[in-house]
């Protein structure tokens, strides 16, 4: 009861008591502190320094003949490096770009003068499976590119999504040709 006496003690003209100020200040300070503690608790989940450090991969592509492909590894994920045949390039160029789900031409997805080298992540843009079609004898789907066995997404010879649930074309990672036969990914 003594406490009630204190809290109901002298009011200022506007009805705000000193105790109100102390309450708000104390709860606010505690709230800011609690929110600050959340930062490390949430941030620790993000990729650690050693995971981020796996930055680039160099691949020798000299032995890949037209029509063949290899799987390289970049950031612990597969990368498809494919030497397109003339027919595969023509098939990709024959499609009206505007009609595609993710409109991109073969030229947008390859380096100038190197339109036969299709370099994409081997990660389906639907839910991350590795599509089939890079190795000899694997199904390439209706469009001759890649076929994802998980949920049936089909990619064409430019690695573009043509059918199935995937929303985007196979991602083209950053890469440069350091010579005619070596490509540096990342």
């Amino acid at each position: 009861m003594a406490q009630d006496a204190v809290t109901e003690a002298p009011e200022q003209g506007d009805g705000v008591r000193r105790r109100d100020f102390i309450n708000i200040a104390a709860v606010s300070a505690a709230g800011v502190g609690a929110a600050g503690v959340l930062v490390p608790l949430i941030s620790q989940m993000s990729p650690s320094a050693d995971v981020l450090a796996e930055s680039t991969t160099e691949v020798d592509i000299g032995a890949i003949k037209p029509g063949q492909a290899i799987k390289a590894m970049f950031r612990k994920q597969p990368v498809f490096i494919r030497n397109l045949t003339a027919k595969e390039q023509a098939d990709a160029q024959a499609v009206a770009t505007a009609s595609l789900r993710d409109p991109q031409s073969l030229e947008d997805r390859t380096k100038p003068g190197k339109a036969n080298w299709l370099i994409t992540m081997g990660v389906c843009t639907h839910l991350g499976c590795v599509p089939l079609g890079s190795a000899e004898g694997e199904p390439k789907g209706e469009f001759g590119g890649y076929f994802c066995p998980c949920h049936g997404s089909q990619y064409d010879t430019a690695g573009r999504i043509r059918k199935g649930p995937a929303p985007k074309n196979l991602e083209v990672p950053e890469y440069t040709f350091t010579s005619d036969t070596v490509v540096k990914i990342g």
Binding site: S46, G122, G128, L132, C150, H151
Partner: protein, 428 residues
């Protein structure tokens, strides 16, 4: 709360009297699952499955804590430590088979428990909160089972983790960042495995907590029963102990017989051989499937193959939303089915649609376990549409136009054919 005629806990031994005065834990147990809890006298065997689910949770926690003593949650060691449990640890093979098949048993029991609720209208007032907590338990079970399946770090573990965490990348704007944050990398690896192990250990205890809330909420109105008619008098009930402890004990024996038959004679029947191949980030298995208990929801995920025409929502996001909505719709069930009659026994139209839903979910399950090709895609699409129609259209319409069959006056009348109180009560 309980009925006024509930037996009162009266400890005889001085030690128990002393304990009751200081910490009335025996009293709590007596009133929850002892002679102090009056239960409708007409419960059938479908009412065994709540207790069986509790037993499954206990089996999973016991075997799981033991497995964690021998398992190494590291991407380089996880697969080999699992094989170490299978080959070298004393009785390790049995404990692991109990745990992996225990998950399947848990889901079998819980699915029957849920479909019991669907049929008998257990979700209706005044039991909505029990239902809502049950859906929360089911969601927690799904998360726990998924993370547990990742731990052996076989091919299906790895690619299951890749696909399921990939669901989050469908979220607009923040999806990719969220995906990387959840995994602690760009693909499942040591960071992801380690945190899944930590959470797989934690979540069962969270489930245990929600189970206690589920039972607490149950004891406020008391158990439902197959007629759906509420308890009116003492003659409608019997004490939980010894009547239902005995009946549940019998059911438990039958359950353990089947469970042990699977554990000892077909321990890999429900698993996938690909998970005995170590995880390989460069090679997706030809036919990637989740465990059987996720198949119906997996089929709904895969049913969306086209972008939404007008709004341009990508098919991937639609699939994810569809899959989660398939469970979230259960949260609204108490308000979608507005029929005042609870039990399907007295609802002739509802009953037909109920069995159609059972068949529909079975078809979805079959399609979810099959490859992503025709005719399974089109069948899953039709079945997924019906699934949502059932909850969002059929139930509200049926509950408003259906003419239910006459209900018994009381549980006693339903059981004995007559109830003396019926002749005394004014006509309703």
């Amino acid at each position: 709360m309980s009925f006024p005629w509930a037996n009162e806990y009266q400890p005889q031994h001085p030690l128990m009297q002393w304990l009751d005065a200081k910490l009335p834990l025996p009293r709590l147990v007596y009133n929850a699952i002892g002679a102090g809890y009056p239960v409708p006298r007409n419960l059938n065997y479908f009412w065994n499955f709540g207790v069986l689910a509790g037993v499954c949770l206990v089996i999973q926690i016991l075997t799981g804590v033991i497995l964690a003593m021998h398992y190494a949650g590291n991407a380089d060691l996880a697969f080999n430590s699992t094989e170490h449990i299978m080959r070298d640890v004393n009785w390790g093979w049995m404990l692991r088979y109990m745990h992996s098949n225990g998950a399947s048993a848990f889901f079998v029991v819980v699915y029957i428990h849920i479909f019991r609720g669907f049929f008998y209208g257990s979700y209706k007032a005044p039991r909505e909160m029990i239902w809502l907590l049950g859906v929360v338990i089911f969601l927690l079970m799904m998360a726990t089972a998924f993370m547990g399946y990742v731990l052996p770090w076989g091919q299906m573990s790895f690619w299951g983790a890749q696909v399921i965490t990939g669901l989050f990348s469908a979220i607009p704007l923040v999806g990719d960042a969220l995906h990387t944050w959840l995994l602690g990398g760009f693909a499942p690896d040591n960071a992801a495995l380690n945190r899944f192990f930590s959470l797989h250990f934690l979540l069962p205890f969270v489930i245990l907590g929600v189970v206690i809330l589920h039972i607490w909420a149950l004891h406020i109105p008391g158990s439902s029963n197959p007629t759906g008619v509420e308890v009116k008098s003492e003659s409608d009930t019997v004490p939980f102990h010894p009547y239902y402890t005995a009946k549940d004990g019998w059911g438990l024996g039958a359950f353990l017989l089947i469970y042990c038959a699977v554990v000892f004679f077909a321990p890999n029947a429900l698993g996938h051989p690909d998970n005995y191949i170590p995880a390989n980030p460069m090679q997706t298995p030809a036919h990637i499937v989740p465990e059987w208990y996720f198949w119906p929801f997996y089929a709904i995920l895969r049913a969306f193959t086209q972008n939404f025409p007008l709004l341009g929502i990508p098919a991937k996001l639609l699939g994810v939303m569809g899959m989660f909505s398939a469970i979230l719709v259960w949260f609204f069930l108490p308000w979608l089915d507005r029929s005042p009659v609870r039990s399907g026994h007295f609802r002739p139209t509802f009953r037909k649609f109920y069995w159609l839903l059972v068949i529909d979910v079975a078809v979805l399950g079959y399609c979810g376990g099959s490859p992503a090709e025709e005719p399974f895609v089109i069948i899953s699409q039709i079945a997924a549409i019906y699934y949502f129609l059932h909850f969002l259209v059929v139930l509200p319409i049926v509950s408003s136009i259906e003419q239910p069959e006459p209900l018994p006056f009381s549980i006693t009348e339903a059981v004995l054919g007559s109830d003396q109180a019926a002749s005394l009560a004014p006509a309703e």
